[in-house]
Symmetry: C2
Subunit: 199 residues, 2 copies
């Protein structure tokens, strides 16, 4: 028989493979239009095998949404660490996020998944909990930076949280925009958006 280490590795690889295909399917079609058959076919395995690795379709979905929210929060957390003035943080964040939108399918999938989940009341309860738990952090974090910048006089005077809302709705909107027009779309220059927040 196989030893435990090998088994664990195979198991982990298969799980990742299934998750990777499921992310694509969910991002494009959402939870309810994505069929287990779709995921199995995309992964090149039998339908039944999916249930060897996951309890249910919902479970896969919940895990994916969790990962998506975590990924976003992690990125935001890194922003805290960087040694920059607040207004430079905002500038850098916008530049990096727009660059990522242009280059990374992965990030766009993350945005699509979160947007769908956020915009539907039909998602599993567990997903709703994750969202209430994790969705606010990016807003809070950006709001903090905005407030700090206001202290220094480099960020425009307005409710910091409202500025954060504008920040994220713009970024998110652009990601979805890019996602839904396949191919050549021109994402606005970072300086345009930056201008919205700096004095």
């Amino acid at each position: 028989m196989r030893n435990q280490k090998q088994n664990e590795r195979i198991r982990e690889e298969r799980k990742e493979q299934i998750l990777a295909e499921a992310v694509k399917q969910f991002a494009h079609k959402g939870l309810f239009a994505t069929k287990i058959k779709d995921i199995a076919e995309a992964a090149g395995i039998a339908q039944g095998l999916i249930y060897h690795y996951f309890k249910s379709k919902e479970d896969i979905y919940v895990e994916i949404i969790k990962d998506a929210l975590d990924k976003l929060n992690e990125a935001v957390y890194m922003l805290q660490e960087i040694q920059l003035r607040p207004h430079e943080k905002i500038k850098t964040a916008i530049e990096e996020l727009l660059k990522t939108i242009e280059s990374s399918d992965n990030f766009i999938q993350t945005c699509r998944l979160i947007a769908q989940a956020t915009n539907s009341t039909a998602i599993p309860d567990k997903t709703k909990e994750l969202i209430t738990e994790k969705q606010d952090l990016p807003y809070q974090e950006i709001a903090k930076i905005m407030a700090a910048g206001q202290q220094e006089g480099t960020i425009i005077k307005a409710d910091p949280y409202e500025l954060a809302v504008l920040f994220w709705t713009s970024i998110n909107g652009l990601a979805i925009y890019k996602a839904t027009r396949q191919g050549a779309v021109s994402i606005p220059d970072a300086r345009l958006l930056t201008r919205l927040f700096l004095t």
Copy 2:
């Protein structure tokens, strides 16, 4: 027996009633998580009766998406008519749109429906056609106004279409933001957003 006029009126009223409930359901849950049973129950009628008025669930959905896109285009079209300088048009549009986001559930439902439909590849082909046909007009229209304002030196210099993208992604993002936090959320002041476009 009833005369034809009465029948037509009853028929029209019922259709509207079904559509009104379907809009709510679709806006909250999307096409695939909304069941015919849900719509029938919300409308207080038997499931079967829906098929006396509509050919299929998809048909209802397509009609609703069509209405949503038309409503948006109509609003944009009215903007053309107003006698104002380009930068005043942008200012007024932002003010009115933000006011509408704060007050009108109807508008928010429209935004949700369009966002969902745009963000999914699983929607009916007929819906996809409607979107490709009608979705670009608001962008074009705002881009035109931006370009005109640039001629007058009142709108910031940048690709007009990119400005339009920024315009709509912000508005749309805010509408979705409001939709998904039930109750008290503070929508940013119109002046903040206006500042993004004016010189």
